[in-house]
Subunit: 676 residues, 2 copies
């Protein structure tokens, strides 16, 4: 038991930290981490044995693209894509499994991960989620087997985050019973589209659906299947394909631009699950409200966002595994009087760089696992047979919509936090490995370059966190209604999905922890109940403050755009506080499931996650009287002490991820040369 | 005048922010920024007109290297390297000018910048600083004219930060009057050496100098000129050259590895300014103390570190110029009820990302200019004619050593802070430009990739900041002497340079500001005297706390390594607080020099620099009772308000850098296509 004391003014803070004794085996951690989809993870590891460890990109774009396309073919042959598709068409219908399997690809070549995501997640996923039987029976098998390589053509040069404002048009011509796909202005060209520059033959094109050519009024954004290349790979008439060229990374993925000059496709090309056009041009939809229809359509595509969060987690794990191995092998500066040089991981500065990041990676892993399970439950119910699960009773429908909205909010929030975490962690790992970390042969720079865009694609992180917060605001719905006069509510609704999010049904453990004792001691930093309350309290306070601020502005009759814009930092803080709470609850739930010998180690990792998270935001806790200055200082020392306690187990913790060993066999992890 | 109020408990914080009225012209800013070396900056801009805007690396390493070598030849033809070398050998002897001229290259191709730095800064600089007339007269002209491309072979695979422990040996053979250069173990190979893989013909090799082969005892690390390739580019006998291969960036620089198998060079190959070997093997040196000799030698090489800080500044400026232009051109989401989409730079979240970074870039610019001036004064006095400026009276010598140590400390600190700032800023700029920011054609990813290693080379930032702090600790020298019993002082002295650093002689403005009024109001965030005191007070308090902590540990008879290691986060904080203060003082001095129409704008930029810096560390100010919670909250809003005030001038501020326009002509800054 270590006791830290800090005194300031009349106040003393004392933290009692129990020692972490004994040794731990990675094999004890693996089952906890592998969780529900353990067999799928194991299978993925087996499959990856064949992959050579990805060195840095060759630099020759065409060669990179060919290599990655070959990898994609191998995945198709191995049946990798089957998990994600319905059984009727040769799939296995394991939605959660498909996301986990995708996540595992992130230990290897990130270009392959993204290309697989484009082909089977985005393109195939859109055909499955937005299409109906006529599309499924005709295309799903060809998509799985890579006979039909395709694109997901949503983003345009002019509009990315603001999908509702896309400018490409799909105008119905009842005479020919065809849609005319057209790019009316340059900035309406589809941009950054994976699979477009080289391999794609078909594109799911998102366009404003117009049936009344007189008014030109749109039924909103819909998706259509548009052939873009013939069998020999030549662009089809009216389709203009450009190459986005070199990117910061992911150069094995052929991103391109698509423009359409009055390209005609048959009426049946419309993915018509949520909106259809009769031969005579009559528009029909099972969802009357156009805004609700739009968000329902987008909502079915949530799997992509969740997959990106998972993939970024694998990249962060890989970077940490490399940096920790290096930290054990690399020595620098003699320890005075010993004649021995110090392992760099023995320096506090290195521990501070890597271990809180490692703890957060564990926390995000458990949150991701929970998110995938929620996706699995919801989409297994609603997506399996065509249209089944829909049209349930009104109450059921409401509950379902509620769950779906919550899923979307969590996916958005976790994607933002997880991808930012990966970017920062990989950067820190690179720096922790010094000059060697900068060499392509050691993988870190490629990991950084490849994952960098994860913070941007599948939703820009800043926009996503705002979406989360604005969803939470609807908890204060009557407040928002008060604001009606200045159009604030309308503004929220227009700019973002009107997500209705409730707090998680408190899991039994958390409930037990929170009710087990009275108000906890301010100083009891290592009490799980105190930790849970600290996160929950911050979320609640930030959110309530935001609602109050908006209400005040409304009373002042301020300009709604200015009001929201001035509060944007507050909004982002609210989103982040919410996600932190969700993540901690997932970690606590995982600890509860874990009754094996790994439990004491994981509990320390959780402590480090919590306290380093609070440390990073401790100004807020101080400003709001949640931490005394003395306790805040004790917190810093507690984080140091936890780093010191976990340092001997760092290798065990990264080995727990069970990343296939050959993917980590790079010069940097091989220790000093034998002649040393 | 805008008034912000925050109330918490009984305390109210009020901040009065004056409005920033009128328009400002970039031309008003340029002379303030260009400063003392304005003609050199202008000349550099002219020279850059010939450069094509650097797109992303082609990916073909050989092609990149050839292109950059061609660029280097053009620079040589244009006389670029002359500034940095003494007049006797055809140079211009403008040391400060040479650093500024190097810095300006950072607006363009960073591979060219680094290759120029290797050839003329590191290699040529070492020959000039460590050699004597026999080396100068023979080589300097050839180095300038690129007839003799060379390497700076210091870092080894096994030792980078710990230069004193390098393992390559230079053993004197009196019979042959030659040195035998040898790589005794694999990890003693020279690593990451620029110019080694392809172009270098000579290397300045740092090695343990041994004259007594019986004992094998070293006189410490010395530098020798060792030929590595013949005229036709083939490795010389006994020299093994490997290629480091692809890197995270800078692939136009040919980094390689050098190993030596008993390679013989004549006695005169030793760069003998600080240590020489007589024909009979007698070692002599003008500096008796080996540790002092070592640090004096390293100290003369300080120009490289200062140049890196400057180069990183240019890269950050370029990234900001690109992101601000994009932020003005790019629109997303309609402003409700207007039919017009909002410029993304009008969102607070974008302003928060870019404008404090821009303010800090200004602050670092002024600090860099001051550092370069200090370097110029010191090296112009000591480096010009061979050995002149040395051997002055004892008192003069002490004062000189003092100034030199202070220069080294500032160079170390500013290099660390400036390169971390560049890395973070370029990352933020990339994200602020979304998917377009990820395309190589828009330069940002290449800027990020190229400058990433700046945080590592020319001194790892974490090690450098510790060096700064440990230097400051010697202010508490009698305390350190108290610690003698546990060897703490020895540990500091052994592990780091024993830099003796005093606070700057307070410039008259700062002195005037600080004495103009009594103790300032806590809440007077925008009072320059309050700001200066806040930075100074934090530095002093952190440093004194650190000294107390070490003294306490000494009293407890603790293990010195553990004591220092446990305090490493405290040490880094002290280094950072010190650099922040130096930077602010430089900004204040620049404001004082600026009496033109740009003054009100620059004053606002300085406010934003100060308050966003305090904001980032406001937990410390709260923990130590320097800010009340109410004032801390008012601070956040003041930063928001300053962002809002500066937003209309963002373009002016980046235009003030006067980056040659064609280097910013990339698709992302060209605004929406004409047909929009």
């Amino acid at each position: 038991m270590i006791s830290l004391k800090r005194r300031r003014g009349g106040h003393e803070a004392r933290v009692e930290i129990s020692a972490l004794s004994g040794t731990f085996e990675p094999e004890w951690l693996r089952p906890v981490l592998d969780g529900r989809w353990e067999p799928i993870r194991q299978e993925a590891r087996e499959r990856m044995r064949e992959l050579r460890p990805p060195a840095g990109e060759s630099g020759d774009t065409e060669q990179e693209r060919a290599r990655v396309m070959d990898g994609l073919r191998r995945l198709a042959e191995q049946g990798y894509p089957r998990l994600g598709f319905a059984k009727e068409y040769g799939g296995e219908g394991d939605i959660g499994g498909s996301v986990v399997s995708f996540e595992m690809l992130g230990f290897g070549d990130l270009s392959l991960l993204v290309k697989a995501g484009v082909q089977w997640g985005l393109f195939g996923g859109a055909v499955q989620a937005l299409g109906t039987e006529r599309h499924h029976s005709r295309h799903i098998r060809a998509i799985m087997e890579l006979e039909l390589p395709g694109c997901f053509a949503m983003t345009e040069t002019g509009h990315g985050s603001d999908v509702a404002s896309l400018q490409t048009t799909a105008t119905y011509d009842p005479g020919a019973e065809e849609f005319i796909i057209h790019t009316p202005v340059d900035k309406a060209r589809k941009d950054y589209i994976g699979n477009a520059a080289r391999d794609g033959r078909m594109a799911v094109v998102f366009a404003q659906l117009i049936t009344d050519t007189e008014s030109g009024e749109s039924h909103g954004v819909h998706a259509l299947m548009v052939p873009i290349r013939d069998e020999r790979g030549r662009a089809l008439p009216g389709v203009r394909i450009e190459d986005c060229g070199r990117k910061g990374g992911l150069n094995g993925v052929d991103n391109g631009r698509l423009s359409f000059d009055h390209v005609r496709v048959p009426r049946e090309a419309l993915l018509n699950r949520f909106g259809d056009v009769e031969p005579d041009g009559t528009y029909t939809s099972p969802i009357e409200n156009p805004s609700r229809r739009f968000f329902t359509m987008l909502g079915t595509l949530i799997r992509g966002r969740i997959s990106v969060a998972g993939g970024s987690g694998s990249a962060a794990k890989t970077a940490l595994a490399l940096a920790v191995r290096y930290g054990e092998a690399r020595r620098q500066f003699e320890r005075p009087g010993t004649g021995t040089e110090v392992k760099v991981l023995d320096y506090l500065s290195q521990q501070r760089r890597l271990l809180p990041a490692l703890a957060t990676t564990y926390a995000l892993h458990f949150a991701q696992e929970e998110l995938v399970a929620a996706l699995h439950e919801i989409q297994t119910a609603t997506l399996q047979p065509d249209g089944a699960g829909e049209g349930a009773g009104d109450d059921d429908g409401k509950a379902e919509e509620w769950r779906q909205r919550e899923l979307e909010s969590r996916a958005a929030g976790l994607k933002a936090i997880a991808t930012w975490h990966a970017t920062q962690t990989i950067q820190d790992c690179r720096e922790a490995c010094g000059g060697a970390g900068y060499l392509a042969e050691n993988r870190l720079v490629q990991l950084k370059a490849d994952t960098d865009v994860f913070t941007t694609f599948e939703g820009d992180n800043t926009v996503l966190l705002q979406l989360v917060a604005k969803g939470l605001l609807t908890r204060f719905q009557h407040d928002v209604e008060d604001l009606g006069t200045i159009g604030l509510a309308r503004f929220v609704a227009e700019q973002f999905a009107e997500a209705l999010i409730e707090r998680t049904a408190a899991r039994s453990t958390i409930a037990r922890l929170l009710t087990a004792r009275g108000e906890p001691d301010e100083d009891d930093l290592l009490d799980r109940a105190w930790q849970l309350r600290a996160f929950e309290d911050r979320e609640k306070h930030v959110l309530e403050g935001l609602a109050r601020r908006l209400r005040r502005a409304a009373a002042d009759d301020a300009d709604p755009f200015e009001v929201f814009n001035d509060a944007q930092d507050h909004v982002l803080r609210a989103g982040r506080a919410h996600v932190d709470r969700i993540v901690l609850e997932a970690f606590v739930a995982a600890l509860d499931r874990c009754d094996g010998p790994a439990a004491p180690l994981l509990a320390k990792v959780c402590d480090l996650y919590v306290l380093s998270t609070i440390e990073a935001d401790r100004a807020w806790f101080l400003e709001h009287g949640r931490l005394s200055p003395a306790t805040a200082k004790a917190l810093l020392e507690t984080v140091n002490e936890l780093c010191k306690q976990l340092r001997p187990h760092a290798r065990t913790l990264v080995d727990g991820f069970a990343i296939p060993g050959h993917l980590l066999e790079v010069p940097i992890t091989q220790g000093p040369p034998a002649t040393d």
